[in-house]
């Protein structure tokens, strides 16, 4: 069983001058990075890690943005047998104090030995350190050893075993940062092998991505897969893409991109916000699979994307689907490669009320469900009822899976790890059904989780922030997501109970809730709904029942005649 370093060694020995990654930079020319440049630069970082006494098997936290430093720092850790984990970079709207708190809590659970960041972010990173914590050194990019001649036999990474942890992946927010998904070399290699087959990866493929690297879709599908397997990768930063979404299309055209992965909202975003004049001469006919992944997929989003870009050569059949999660390294299913993406038109009421996906009947309201595809070869999927028994086909239940690429565990969180497994099956917390032919349809979520633009947000993080506002009491707020057709993703709503009717006071509370939540989580609330106590639906244990509150909110809004 290979490990990451063995795969890199193969690339370096066979095709050292092949461009591994082309970095697209804002306001600077594209930067091609060959395997030689990638690995020799990485070896310099490896040397620096060694000088700082960081041992194989220890964790280093990378606080770096998309760019050459991040590439070198990441693969430097790989070559050294060190476990890299990328921490999202501070955004301009997040309060530095909150970032510090999140970083400190990540450190307290993950116990990294080192942090690496930019010189001008060093003091920020240091301010999150506590006396006696695990961090022995904070390294900065300006003081790293230069590129070095490769000597793989001297790389501790070459001797990592399959079961050793290769990397950690955290989702964002206070809760997400305390739950790092630990993946072994074996698990990642198994995923890559089977996913490679599922998408028929071939020598003419070129990956184009703007996705963040602290998320499984960006990190596994659009970073490790191409680099470790030897496919060219064109990498744009999410920061640049969100300001200039046309750059994705231009990159596909210029580099003859064939493969991309996008969260559902990005289809709407690109369709709505890219202008013709930014697409002059663009040809998208090389795109053979653009996989919709990481948030609920909508047919309307595919259609809007297709209608917008068909005149630039986009083919409808290149719009594919995928269901994935970090706990399975990445993909669980893939659709649209061997056959067109499945579409199941079902009776809406029976789906929503009875939880059964019955074929639609003429004259009754229906829903067009996009199939997520069939499980990739090494992964088995079951739909379970609340007692853990398999459901019949076309009946909604919790999606559970078993594979040879599961997480080793949530890092240093045996409690959390134990909670998500039942008799060897990983319980995803997602709801869905399967059809007779084994196609998987994802219909919703059992767990309280909000997904905005493919990013997982834990509602409890937002509620805790709202409690800091004067006039909002602990236990009296509820956050949830509501799908917005226009943007193709969820809008975040926060309902809070208050004890005033004074309009000025209500406005103050509303403004402060928005501001506190945004600065503390980088999540923008689309609606703040203030209600008189008692309003909140609680569970028997006194916790906020978010899905019940969501239903209640939707009913009130419907009655009031407001629309979303």
């Amino acid at each position: 069983m290979p490990n990451f370093t063995e795969l890199l060694k193969l690339r370096y020995e066979q095709h050292p001058e092949q461009v591994a990654v082309t970095l697209l930079q804002s306001g600077a020319p594209d930067l091609p990075v060959t395997y030689r440049a990638l690995l020799e630069g990485a070896a310099g970082y490896g040397r620096t890690y060694a000088q700082n006494g960081i041992q194989p098997g220890e964790v280093v936290i990378l606080i770096l943005q998309h760019g050459i430093d991040l590439l070198h720092a990441y693969f430097g850790a790989v070559l050294s047998g060190i476990i890299p984990s990328i921490m999202p970079f501070l955004t301009e709207k997040l309060l530095p104090e909150r970032y510090r708190t999140d970083l400190a809590s990540l450190i307290s659970v993950t116990q990294p030995s080192a942090v690496i960041t930019y010189p001008d972010f060093e003091s920020e990173a240091r301010s999150a350190l506590r006396r006696g914590d695990s961090v022995r050194s904070v390294m900065v990019t300006g003081q790293v050893e230069g590129p070095r001649q490769m000597d793989f036999s001297a790389c501790p990474g070459l001797y990592r075993r399959g079961e050793d942890i290769a990397l950690l992946q955290h989702s964002s927010g206070t809760t997400g940062l305390q739950k790092g998904v630990a993946l072994s070399h074996q698990a990642v290699c198994n995923q890559l092998e089977h996913y490679r087959q599922a998408i028929h990866l071939n020598a003419s493929d070129v990956f184009v991505s703007w996705l963040p690297l602290y998320h499984d879709m960006g990190l596994i599908a659009c970073y490790l897969m191409p680099i470790l397997l030897g496919s060219p990768l064109v990498l744009l930063s999410p920061f640049d893409w969100v300001r200039a979404p046309y750059r994705l299309m231009r990159a596909v055209s210029q580099y003859k991109g064939t493969l991309s992965w996008l969260p559902n909202f990005a289809y709407n975003f690109c369709a709505q916000k890219v202008r013709d004049r930014d697409l002059e001469g663009v040809d998208l006919s090389t795109w053979r699979a653009v996989s919709n992944c990481s948030e609920p997929m909508h047919l309307e989003s595919h259609q809007a994307f297709y209608e917008r870009f068909r005149k630039y050569g986009l083919r409808y059949e290149s719009l594919t689907t995928c269901y994935a999660m970090a706990e399975n390294v990445f993909a669980v299913t893939q659709g649209g490669i061997d056959a067109p993406v499945a579409m199941d038109e079902v009776d809406r009421d029976r789906l929503q009320i009875e939880g059964v996906a019955c074929p639609a009947i003429a004259g009754k309201a229906s829903l067009k469900m996009l199939g997520a595809g069939k499980p990739i070869q090494n992964t088995s999927v079951q739909i379970l009822d609340n007692r853990g028994h398999p459901r019949k086909v076309r009946t909604i239940g919790e999606i559970a899976l078993k594979s040879d690429c599961m997480l080793t565990g949530y890092y240093h969180r045996p409690d959390e790890t134990e909670r998500v497994f039942r008799e060897g099956w990983y319980l995803t917390g997602d709801l869905g059904y399967m059809t007779e032919d084994g196609e998987v349809y994802v219909t919703g979520r059992k767990k309280d989780l909000i997904i905005v633009g493919g990013k997982n947000i834990y509602p409890q993080d937002l509620e805790l922030l709202a409690y800091q506002v004067r006039g909002v009491h602990a236990g009296r707020a509820s956050a949830f997501g509501i799908f917005d057709e226009n943007s193709g993703t969820e809008d975040v709503v926060l309902v809070a109970e208050v004890e005033t009717d004074d309009p000025a006071e209500l406005q103050r509370i509303s403004n402060e809730v928005r501001q506190t939540v945004t600065l503390g989580s980088a999540v923008t609330l689309r609606y703040v709904h203030l209600v008189r106590h008692p309003w909140m639906v609680k569970t028997s244990s006194g916790k906020t029942a978010r899905s019940a509150n969501r239903e209640k909110f939707l009913k009130e809004i419907e009655k009031s005649g407001k629309t979303f």
Binding site: K93, A244, G453, L519
Partner: protein
């Protein structure tokens, strides 16, 4: 000057913040407060271009270039 400010205020309040009745303080931070999140910057740039014929480059869409309504108005004014 007043027109630009009013038009921007109305657009930001209605289309971005989804609070049509809201009046923005000219000195109130918009980007660093999260009122305008990154997903809306491109909308704002398109609006400015369509309404006032002023092009904002994507590299300029950040809080260093403008963070308040007053700064945005000044930027638009300076390029008309």
């Amino acid at each position: 000057m007043e027109d630009i400010s009013n038009a921007l205020n109305r657009y930001i309040a209605t289309e971005i913040a989804k609070q049509p009745q809201r009046t923005l303080d000219p000195e109130e931070p918009l980007l660093t407060s999260g009122l305008i999140d990154s997903f809306h910057l491109v909308d704002l740039a398109l609006f400015v271009e369509d309404q006032f014929g002023v092009h904002l480059d994507d590299a300029e869409l950040n809080a260093q270039t403008f963070d308040t309504l007053a700064q945005l108005v000044a930027l638009v004014e300076s390029r008309r």
